[in-house]
């Protein structure tokens, strides 16, 4: 049997002295997209951050490729884990190309390989390299920033991608475009992806599996179709909210 990309085993974690995750167990199979859905404060972002050791659990284990994150060198772990967040965190003081080239350069790729890779990624996320390479982050629209952020996360070809509300701040039309873009990219690359969102419709559109968190506990984990059919009022409330 193939090792899961990420496995949470009885994980509990607290932030600022408050317990925000209680005994969560969840498995993310290789090459699949798992959406973490829940209201604000449900613990979904905390769960995501345990994966690349931005946080460590109080108890339980987070296994990445079968190895506990406590045994990973955090720097090495992070360099093979793409990370995309809502306000993208693009470095405002360097160009789009330099943003995308950050991790390849940390890994000491030769300059020509970095340049080729940057153009390849810009094309992949639908940004014309000749136009966007030398742009500054504040010259991009919200949608273009998210595309650049995704390209940066994919730069060193990480097997695992963590995305925290990556499409949260976009207008509905741009969001729809990027959903289509994400599915197209994922059909080509087949990365293991953990996607945090409060939007059940987005989760249904993008994920192979949906994990629903409520006040720090995992209350459902199933395919989109089965989650949609759930009778749990807490799950139904999330469906209603996203319309």
């Amino acid at each position: 049997m193939v090792e899961p990309a990420v496995q949470f085993a009885e994980v509990s974690a607290s932030r600022g002295g408050r317990l925000v995750l209680r005994h969560v167990s969840l498995s993310v199979p290789q090459g699949q997209t798992v959406a973490l859905v829940g209201r604000s404060g449900s613990g979904k972002t905390t769960l995501l951050r345990l994966v690349n050791r931005l946080l460590d659990p109080d108890s339980g284990n987070v296994l990445v490729d079968g190895r506990s994150t406590r045994d990973w060198d955090p720097i090495a772990l992070r360099r093979r884990t793409g990370y995309v967040i809502q306000d993208t965190g693009l470095f405002p003081h360097v160009t789009v190309a330099d943003n995308i080239a950050t991790v390849p350069r940390l890994l000491a790729w030769p300059a020509d390989r970095v340049a080729t890779r940057v153009d390849e990624l810009l094309t992949l996320v639908g940004l014309e390299p000749a136009v966007f390479r030398e742009r500054w982050p504040d010259e991009l629209s919200g949608g273009q920033r998210q595309r650049a952020g995704l390209a940066r996360a994919l730069a060193a070809d990480p097997p695992l991608l963590l995305m925290d509300e990556p499409f949260g701040a976009l207008d509905p039309i741009t969001k729809g475009e990027l959903h289509a873009e994400f599915l197209r990219v994922q059909r080509t690359l087949h990365r293991s992806v953990i996607l945090v969102t409060h939007d059940m419709a987005e989760a249904c559109a993008l994920a192979d599996q949906i994990a629903v968190l409520h006040e720090g506990e995992l209350i459902a984990c199933d395919t989109p179709a089965n989650v949609k059919a759930s009778g749990d009022p807490r799950v139904r409330a999330l469906m209603g909210r996203s319309g």
Partner: protein, 509 residues
Amino acid sequence: MTELLAFIVSHRVEMATRLGEHVVLVAASTAIAAAIGIPLGIVAAQRPSLSRPIVGLANLAQTIPSLALFGFLIPLPFIGGIGTRTALVALTVYAVLPILRGTITGLQNVPPAVVECAVAMGLTPRQVLRQVEWPLALPSIVSGLRVAVVIGVGTATIASAIGAGGLGDYIFRGLAMVDATVILAGALPAALLALAADAALAAAGHLADPRRRARRHVVVLAIVVLAAAVTMWSGRVTGGPAHLVVGSKNFTEQVVLGELVAQVVERQAGLTVERRLNLGGTAIAHEALLSGGIDIYVEYTGTALTAIFDEPAAADSEQVFAVVRDRYAALGLTLLPRLGFNNTFAILVRGDDARRLGMKAISDVAGQPAWKAGFGYEFLERPDGFKGLSAAYGLQFAQAPRVMDLNLIYRALAAGEIDVTAGDATSGLIEALGLTVLDDDRHYFPVYDAAPVARAPVLLQYPAVAAALRGLAGRISAADMRRLNFAVDGEKRDPAVVVRGFLDKIGGF
């Protein structure tokens, strides 16, 4: 304005030196402050529990008045004393806060999402700092540096009081002379320097903007050129270690006497002399001599007796000299022979009155009860001023003496508003306004004979210096001193040039 231009032109060499000292003081103190403030700011920004006490401490240091801070530093070993080193310490203390604050603010204002992404991408803490936080905080750090430099240029003018030189020399000299031109000669270049330094740093910060990276090498080049220029300038100004250091207090006569001693030593003993003219006062000059910050300066016997050794004033020239010489000797200092003039109070009348009435001495004034007298406030109040004077000479005036500003009494006398006053025996205005000094025939006023005082070990090391200074004994009359003062105060000539002309004229040097 024309006066100011004329002053600047006639003092251009000295001015270039002062400006150079000023630039070096500010540049060096800002550089040291940056070397302290930036790393401290980085540490503090990461630990908010540390940043509060650090910023608080820096704030506190900032509130110490600058003259007081210089005062505190003088008696301290290693960092204290007189001159450039102490000034650098004080200026650095003031420059640290804005740089520290700029660094902390800059780092704390880096968007958290950007830092989070940098960490999540696998940058090490050091890489996060160097590649992300530092470039984003740089504009704020540059503005901190700009504030520090502007404060530094201003505060460095006060460094003159402890002998660090700089443009403050003119400001203090001008204040002592009540001459706006001289004050402006220091204040105006200082203000321009502050503006220029601020603009240069702003331009450097602007060019360092990553979006203009192509011009980055220009900035680097400019900084290198600037640093080289400053280094060369400072090298030229100091020109290697001098054999000995001559000091003076911060009024015209003292500057002239300091220059005179320096030139005599240079001419007669063939030694190189560093000048620390314009020290803030008797206490600072004396402290400087004791600590070895300076080797020689000219003091007045009466001042030494009362202000340094805390004895009552006395009028017997020989006796005062002997007492002061002994007291200095106990401190390892040598009082050299008197220069020949007594800078005491002088009772002044108009020259034509003196000639018409055949007046020579103060006792002759007793025969003029109808005269109007006018004195400075202090002279009227002091027991050894007018009260003692009128008792000693039996002076009676029909009208009570008028109280006048000390700076106006000479002109009031010349204009006939008053007929007799008490001035400064070596004021340059006495000859210039045609006034006559009446002889103190009853020896009422304390003596303030000018005499060089030197560190004894220096005289032992360089016997030629002692010989040269003994050669000055009795060579400068009160009339000479008045002419020298007037040449500098009234004619606005460079003290060095005036002294050179005087030494050539009296000969023997």
